[in-house]
Amino acid sequence: MNDETDFDVIIIGAGFAGAATAFQLLKEGIEGDRILIVDRGEPIGSKNLTGGILWGRELDDFEEFLGNWEMDCPGIERCINHKKVGFLSNEDALFIEGRFASWDGTGGTEEPSQRASWSVLRAKADAWMAEKMEEAGIFVMAGMKIDQLHIDGLDHGSYDARDLTDPAEDSGKGGAQKWKVDNLPKELVDKIRNGSISGIVQDGDIMTSKVVVIAEGTNSVLTRAYHFDSMLHAQSKDDMLLGVKEVIHLGKEKIDERFNCFAGDDERPPSGMAMELALSLYRDMSHEAWEKYPNTKGLYPRCGGFFYTNRDTVSCGIIVQLKSLPEGLHTYDLYQAFKAQPAIAALIEGGEAIEYGGHLCPEYGLHRMPHRFTRDGAVVVGDAAGLVFANGMQIQGMNNALHSGKLAGKAIAACMANGDVSAKALDATYTKSLKASYIFRDLKRFEPATKFLNNPANFTWVPELVGKTANRVFREIGEEKVTAEKVLFGVRKEMRAENKANKKGMSLFRMLKLALMGRKL
């Protein structure tokens, strides 16, 4: 029976989603030599970049393959026991810092299960996971980009996947309705979009499998071309964030000292700090850009900062919503403004940048998910499916990737056992469990938060108001003190007098509305 196809399952992409699918399939009893996982990076991991934290202990479920991952995996850097949220303006900075002894197993409890968030470097982590997959008997192929999916009875020489990923010309993407496919016969397109998938095509060679798992990550060409994303739901400026970051080397001792981290011992990993920041650094830059490029007048970049400690480096970067980028501002210059803010500059002083990079982060929310997660003989998992959650307090993608991979592994094994890997059967298992999982429940519960987060106030006057108010409340000048509330309203009055945008944006009505929205975080 087994020999009808080259493999039982072929997984495209060896990131967390793909690896979790593979390990789960092993756990379900699928033989390692019936699973092929391919990745376009060589070595595996070399295409990946993160500006995030791995939350939770999803990897514990794969202990039999990964062993003591938190001590042994080189890309799992520090256990976060220390979290900061910050408000930065050009002149002021306010940080709220939580230091939780119980988080790292060094304080209130030594229970490892309390260690639940990790700074990661994906090039290293993915390479290590690939090694573990090989050790477990899975076929792992690095440096292999998949051009097409194999569809029964289709001549794969007759089209290029790129032919199917042009947005319709007049649609302006955001509100677009469909992909433009004008150079392929309708019958062929129909087959590409709805035929039964049974393998992969690389450089003209076909490898067949019962099920294909698309775990390509963000910006997935295959999910577009094979119509998991109808254009209505497709990746567009509205839902894509660009992360730009540097990895800066400081040395382990300096990091332990500067960020007050536990150095780690034989049993416990070193602890570290994670910081996320609201930025109002870009007002003057934007105003100047508007003068030069009036087309995008009124647009402030919606930009957040992040800063994480790794073992001997720090990850320092920004993430910007592509729709909010005005003409005239380069994304890397937005990063520079963040890096140069005095409070951040102090943290990286004496460090040396050793890597720079950029990566997209899909933040679709429920309303722009792929319109389907399965086809006959295929499923899509992780970032490729846009399974990223953000509410301003947490951004989670990597644990969602791992979790969706597990669900896919379970579902695929069950469907194969029943001899039915149709979209219907995969939907009844994979899609159903995905929608019942915490991934979807989180997305649903915090959907209103997106509205709050996208409010321009949070990228203009809010961080400035917070910073200025804190500045005055904390300062002792030996004079009579006034209440914080009075200071706040004093600062508000000054800021409103400064310019028209503030006057309008900081009206009592708007501030109240914003506060009400903020409760949903």
Binding site: K47, N48, R122, R162, E288, A289, T313, G328, Y335
Partner: protein, 105 residues
């Protein structure tokens, strides 16, 4: 407002940044992104230029009369594909084993 926050004073040394990344550049005939630069002449916004974190797109802001695209420094993020609404960018991943090689990630 202090002078230091003016535009132009926050200029990331992008050439230096790109120099920190490893690449295994493929030959020209296998360039993974193809830009029909003639379509760029009518574009009013050049959002690819502003969005691209690797300065692969150079145009009027650099005093050029036509779009100049180079794939060699591409970090394969996909921003240009998302930003372009002129249908000028044909986007794909590089061939297996080619393109960017992050060592940290």
């Amino acid at each position: 407002m202090s002078e230091s926050i003016k535009l132009g004073l926050f200029t990331y040394d992008i050439k230096n940044g790109l120099g920190l990344i490893g690449y295994n550049v493929d030959e020209h005939e296998h360039a993974h992104i193809i830009v029909e630069t003639s379509k760029c002449n009518d574009c009013s916004h050049m959002m690819c230029v502003w969005g691209c974190p690797a300065q692969c797109y150079n145009f009027r802001d650099q005093g050029l009369k036509e779009m100049k695209f180079q794939y060699e420094d591409c970090v394969e993020c996909g921003t240009c594909y998302i930003m372009c609404d002129q249908g000028a960018v044909s986007w794909n991943h590089p061939r297996g084993g080619f393109g960017i090689t992050y060592s940290q990630g």
